[in-house]
Amino acid sequence: MFEMAKELLKQLFRKPFTNRFPSKHVPKSTTKLLKNVKEGMAKVNRPVPIPEGFRGKIAYDKEKCIGCKLCIKVCPANCYDFLEKERKVKYHLSRCTFCAQCVDVCPVNALTSTKEFLLSDYKTH
């Protein structure tokens, strides 16, 4: 275990490898903290940059949609419901697997991948 012991001793003097939370403790007021950060009075750990082409939550532009149903055809998780009256689709985030196949297939770019990934919430609707 000599090799590992060396590595562990080195690790003692290094920063933790994990991505850290913005601040050590939960601030009493988030807006105040953000204000302080702007003025340079407080410091927060910047979030890790999201790579280009990240497949986050899918944004749906209802105006652009022409109701061609291609997204319904390729979606592996049956995320999309077709609204007969409006000839538009309804996107169910809870079923989405973020494969972004619908983004590729959409002929009018009504669907786009956003960088949003913090999607868990207490509100279910």
């Binding site: 090799e3 291609l70 055809k73 196949q101």
Partner: protein, 432 residues
């Protein structure tokens, strides 16, 4: 009251049984591990017969996690199935989706562009690196070296970041498409990939030192869980499990797919490093670590040779689906996954969805070799031997030891404690 008296009388009248002394020179216990067990990762129930600490007979039950993925596949079109195939195994997601794509391409006679072949190869090797490093961490955890586990997983994080930057997703990358791949590797992404490869070249030596030079890991793994070459061949072991027993079996070498025909890939056996083949757990560690090194070399070679051009046969998916709808026939896809050979069988009958889809994952083949591996070993070695074939995941484990009326529950923690105790005892013996 009356009835009570009668019972009392009856009880008194009964002649006491003579204590029969059964002469048994052997006392074998039955030890049941699973179906759900963290060391096993995949729900499978072991029924071990043990004498003291020694395992004398091995039996196991399968089929506790039938999810009906193949059934679900026959109700979807081929493009939807790619993403379903990815979810067969989180760690081997590239191989399953690529394997399905190859099977469908074989049926429809779709030609894949050369650049797509190379991109598939690069993703396959990145996945192999991440899977093998992850396994090394799990093996260290089973031996009781948790700090080694955290260290190896820290090393693994780099390849995960690279995959996220290349594909957009960390685990289920959704990169395969029938007739090619969905996303190109852009020029500006190449330096990042090369930097990661340099990191692994540098870090590999250290990882190798930690795993291969440590006397305690050596004494825990050398000569444990031996799978002889004959047994390996007879029981159809695949992947690193077979190669660690000296069987030169590798789909990349035997039936080259994607860009492997342009690359010189040779099956790695422990002979390359140690000079001899034992087929024990240590050999399996050696093979996997050498394969990480091999993967780095393959990716470098791919980046050098990669031609420019199209990345997919048909960009318009409705057109592709229409073409697949008119095809009839059956095809097989074979791919070397991190754990061994994956086979997908697909039958198309000119309909929207395939008539039949069958998947044979490598773990299925690597289960039977558990028999000869576990025979004659100690109970404390069961987790590391079971983990040494890298069985696919699903957790929380408990075992019940039954000795007539006495029941003792050995949960995962207890099993691991046994393993850790053995390591500590060895440490004392080795003098560290």
């Amino acid at each position: 009251m009356n009835s009570g008296k009668i019972i009392e009388k009856k009880y008194r009248e009964r002649k006491p049984d003579k204590p029969v002394k059964k002469k048994r020179d052997r006392k074998s216990y039955s030890l049941s591990i699973g179906p759900i067990h963290p060391a096993l990762k995949e729900p499978v129930r072991f029924d071990l017969k043990i004498e003291g600490e020694k395992v004398v007979n091995v039996d196991f039950e399968l089929s506790q996690v039938h999810r009906g993925i193949e059934w679900a596949g026959t109700r979807r079109n081929p493009v939807q199935i790619i993403y379903l195939a990815e979810r067969i195994c989180g760690i081997c997601n590239i191989c399953h989706s690529a394997c399905f794509c190859i099977a469908v391409e074989n049926i429809a006679g779709i030609g894949v562009p050369a650049r797509a072949h190379y991109i598939r190869t690069i993703y396959g090797e990145l996945e192999r690196m991440h899977s093998h490093i992850l396994w090394a961490g799990v093996a260290a955890h089973e031996l009781g070296f948790d700090s080694v586990m955290y260290y190896t997983w820290k090393v693994r994080e780099k390849v995960m970041d690279v995959m996220e930057a290349l594909a957009g997703n960390r685990i289920t990358k959704g990169i395969m498409m029938i007739g090619g791949v969905r996303r190109d590797i852009k020029e500006k992404q190449v330096p990042m990939l090369k930097e990661a490869l340099e990191y692994y070249k540098k870090g590999f030596g250290k990882l190798g030192d930690i795993f291969l030079k440590d006397p305690v890991i050596k004494s825990r793994t050398v000569d444990t869980g031996i799978l002889s070459k004959q047994d390996g061949l007879a029981l159809c072991a695949v992947g690193p499990t077979a190669r660690a027993s000296g069987i030169k079996k590798d789909v990349r070498q035997d039936a080259a797919y994607a860009a492997y025909s342009d690359l010189d890939v040779k099956a790695i056996t422990p002979k390359n490093l140690l000079g001899e083949v034992k087929g024990d757990v240590f050999d399996r560690i050696v093979v996997r670590l050498l394969e990480v090194k091999q993967s780095v070399e393959i990716i470098e070679e791919c980046l050098k040779q990669m031609p420019k051009g199209k990345i997919v046969y048909e960009e318009k998916i409705p057109k592709l689906l229409a073409e697949l709808r008119s095809v009839e026939g059956d095809g097989i896809g074979r791919i070397e996954a991190p754990r061994g050979e994956v086979i997908h069988y697909v039958k198309l009958v000119g309909e929207e969805s395939p008539f039949c889809w069958k998947v044979r994952a490598p773990t299925y083949n690597n289960l039977l070799p558990w028999g000869p591996m576990l025979m004659g070993e100690q109970v404390a070695d069961v987790p590391i031997i079971a983990a040494s074939t890298d069985p696919c995941m699903s957790c929380t484990n408990r075992a019940v030891v039954t000795d007539g009326n006495n029941e003792e529950v050995l949960d995962n923690e207890a099993m691991r404690r046994l393993s850790v105790e053995k390591t500590n005892a060895l440490k004392r013996r080795v003098g560290r």
